[in-house]
């Protein structure tokens, strides 16, 4: 997210909503994953207890984050790993670049991770002439097509088989290639195998860091993770500082909740757990870069702090009625959906993503599914309050139509008489706008957004309060 994001959510959403093919694909993908998730969650008799435990562990970590990070550093170092600390994206990119230059690496293999996207790693490396090869199938499709991911779990769902066939044939220089999912997967396997075998450095994110043992955990499906983690001579894992968990056994909770929440599987095909370097098995040089990049500041806010409990499963996106319509592109942020709506504005101190806390109907579905019980609606409302207070602090914000309107509304709602007066005025004022259909089809000025996609029922001739008053006086 190092490049400026100009468009805010409402504008970006309007654009993507035109793409009916993308909307169909997003709806289909989210439906499939949701159904699978619901099935395997139902199998799990103590699901709510697991959510409680996951939430408690993550909360406990945040309260003692400094100590657990130090414990991780010391255990990892003892096992032969090297731990680096990066205050921001530039720090992390510089540390990585130094390592790559030292190893003379021109091309590295990479496992998809949100953290590396957050710091814009690929762009940073490209600027120094180093190619980062994405090895997740969907990310490879995106990368070869110089495209944008459209969904967190299935980033290439906007591409169909024929498009992928043409892309692979061109970019992999293949004479012929079938267009079944099997053919295409086999082509990717062949293409990437050479890369895995020849790369000397791999870069990954991390799902968890274990303070007690100094171990790092990666959860994946395709096996590209295992290739990256075990074949190259040097491995660099970049992890947000909040990724640490206290003990090895705490993993038992998250290995039950994460796969079920993310892809709807009892267990994803591969989990890798490793500790420093191990003679004869895997990289002989291992680095961890601990990335802050705005996270420690989020701890300051007791209500919003829980955002950092997130284990990036994506379940909140699949159930979100807003995300299901717009997909990920509209959020203009690495982190999309409900979690993006609370994380992005905080990471950027509301400088970016200030419209995202409003990209929600506050229906609460995200909280219901969250495996670590982040009360996303509560945080959304809390952040909306911050956005408003920030706007009120400027003169244009203070005198803006929204602020004045809201102040006025606040004045009206304090008394029944004022409300009754406002209703009378409203009934008079709405007259020119009510069509023969009996609905208001178009409102002027700041109200026009409401009627752009729907009609508005006019204020009735009699309000409930008036009706009630009449009713209670007639015996």
């Amino acid at each position: 997210m190092t490049e400026p994001r100009s468009a805010d959510f409402p504008h970006a959403a309007r654009e993507v909503l035109q793409d009916s093919q993308l909307r169909r694909n997003v709806a289909h993908a989210t439906d499939v994953i949701r159904n699978k998730r619901d099935r395997v969650v139902a199998e799990c008799s103590s699901w709510q207890d697991l959510r409680d435990a996951g939430s408690a562990i993550r909360q406990h970590v945040l309260r003692h984050l400094d100590q657990y990070l130090l414990q991780f550093e010391s255990a990892c170092t003892q096992a032969g790993g090297q731990v680096h600390w990066a205050a921001d994206a530039a720090d992390a990119n510089r540390i990585l670049l130094d390592l790559l230059v030292r190893h003379n690496a021109r091309e590295i293999v990479k496992i998809k991770s949100m953290t590396t996207e957050e710091i814009g790693l690929n762009r940073s490396l490209a600027a120094h002439g180093i190619a980062a090869v994405e090895t997740d199938l969907a990310e490879l499709i995106i990368q070869l097509g110089r495209d944008q991911p459209s969904h967190i779990v299935v980033p290439a769902l906007h591409k169909n088989r024929r498009q992928i066939r043409d892309l692979f044939q061109r970019e992999m220089h293949l004479d012929s290639l079938g267009d079944t999912a099997e053919d295409l997967t086999a082509a990717a396997r062949q293409y990437l195998r050479q890369k895995f075998f020849s790369a000397s450095v791999a870069v990954s994110g991390a799902n968890f860091l274990i303070a007690e043992t100094g171990s790092v955990v990666i959860v994946e499906s395709e096996g590209n993770g295992r290739m990256c983690l075990t074949l190259p001579r040097v491995l660099v894992s970049i992890a947000g500082i909040e990724k640490v968990i206290p003990r090895y056994r705490d993993l038992d909770v998250f290995l039950q909740t994460l796969p079920r929440s993310a892809t709807g599987e009892r267990m994803n095909p591969y989990n890798s757990i490793w500790t420093g370097v191990h003679s004869g098995d895997g990289p002989q040089e291992f680095h961890v870069i601990l990335l802050d990049n705005g996270r420690s500041r989020i701890l300051r806010d007791p209500e919003a702090q829980q955002t950092l409990k997130c284990i990036r499963c994506g379940a909140c996106q699949n159930v979100c009625p807003v995300y299901r319509q717009t997909g990920g592109h509209a959020y203009r942020s690495v982190y999309a959906g409900p979690i993006g709506a609370i994380l992005t504005p905080q990471l950027h101190r509301l400088q970016e993503g200030a419209s995202l806390p409003y990209a929600s109907s506050l229906c609460g579905a995200c909280y219901e599914v969250c495996p670590v019980k982040i009360d996303i609606p509560e945080v959304l409302i809390h952040l909306r309050g911050q956005v408003v207070r920030k706007q009120q602090a400027t003169l244009t914000g203070k005198l803006g139509a929204w602020n004045l309107g809201m102040q006025l509304a606040a004045q009206i709602f304090v008394s029944g008489d004022r409300l009754a007066l406002a209703e009378t005025l409203g009934r008079l004022g709405q007259r020119p706008f009510v069509r023969s259909s009996g609905f208001i089809e178009r409102l002027p000025f700041m109200f026009s957004g409401w009627t752009r996609f729907r009609d508005l029922a006019p204020l009735p001739a009699e309000s409930f309060r008036e009706w009630w008053a009449k009713r209670s006086t007639t015996p």
Partner: protein, 219 residues
């Protein structure tokens, strides 16, 4: 000031500020962990037969093959599985019991092979550390009989022997057993690798072995 100091100080300052706003949380040494509720189910009261049946069901559900043997007939089961696919040249880790290896096949110790050499094998035969019935998972570690991680990754076919006493019901039970060897490189394998990235169609075997078969040795 180093980035390390900056980050640690920022964490401490911000946590203190949050505490001033919301009141202190439980301290680490003050029984902090006891406050983590662990009410979730850690074990399951299953009979050995039920456990085995569930394990087999979940393996098949994730498209892994299953064959049965007794502890004395492992070699025969291995021969059967390999012959069914006409595989002859198989990589093995150091420390694999010699009595598991049937004659008529080429078993070569491959712990020291690099990836290119490993790729010339038609398959790999390993033991495992344990297995989890409720998730259909086998757990491999860098240990005798299991080899380095690349061994069970590069060849296209993986045959793994699991004894019934190695199967636990639940994930928490697995972690209790694994605690003693927690720092060994460890891989949880649940079915062959898979992707649904292309039009949401599930395809088996992207980079790992495209075929995973389990021999269940039942005493």
């Amino acid at each position: 000031m180093t980035a390390r100091d900056t980050i640690l100080r920022s964490i401490q300052e911000n946590l203190r500020a949050a505490e001033r706003l919301a009141g202190p949380g439980p301290g680490p040494g003050s029984g902090g962990d006891d406050l983590i509720s662990r009410l979730y189910r850690e074990a399951a009261p299953r009979t050995p037969a039920d456990r085995l049946a569930l394990f087999e069901h979940n393996l098949r559900d994730y498209e892994a093959g299953v064959a049965y043997a007794s502890p004395n007939t492992i070699a025969e089961a291995v021969a059967c599985s390999l012959a069914a696919r006409s595989l002859t040249r198989i990589a093995i880790p150091g420390g694999l019991p010699a009595e598991w290896l049937p004659s008529g096949f080429l078993f070569e110790p491959a712990d020291d092979c690099d990836p290119t050499a490993l790729e010339t094998f038609q398959g790999v035969l390993t033991a495992c550390t344990l297995a989890i019935a409720e998730t259909g998972t086998i757990v491999l570690q860098s240990a005798p009989g299991q080899g380095p991680r690349r061994l069970s990754l590069v060849p296209d076919y993986h045959l793994c022997v699991v004894f019934d006493r190695q199967i636990v019901d639940t994930v928490p039970e697995a972690f209790v057993r694994l605690a003693a060897s927690a720092t060994l490189p460890t891989t949880f394998i649940s079915g062959p690798s898979a992707t649904s990235d292309i039009e949401m169609t599930r395809v088996r075997g992207v980079h790992g072995p495209r075929t995973l078969e389990i021999i269940l040795a039942k005493s």
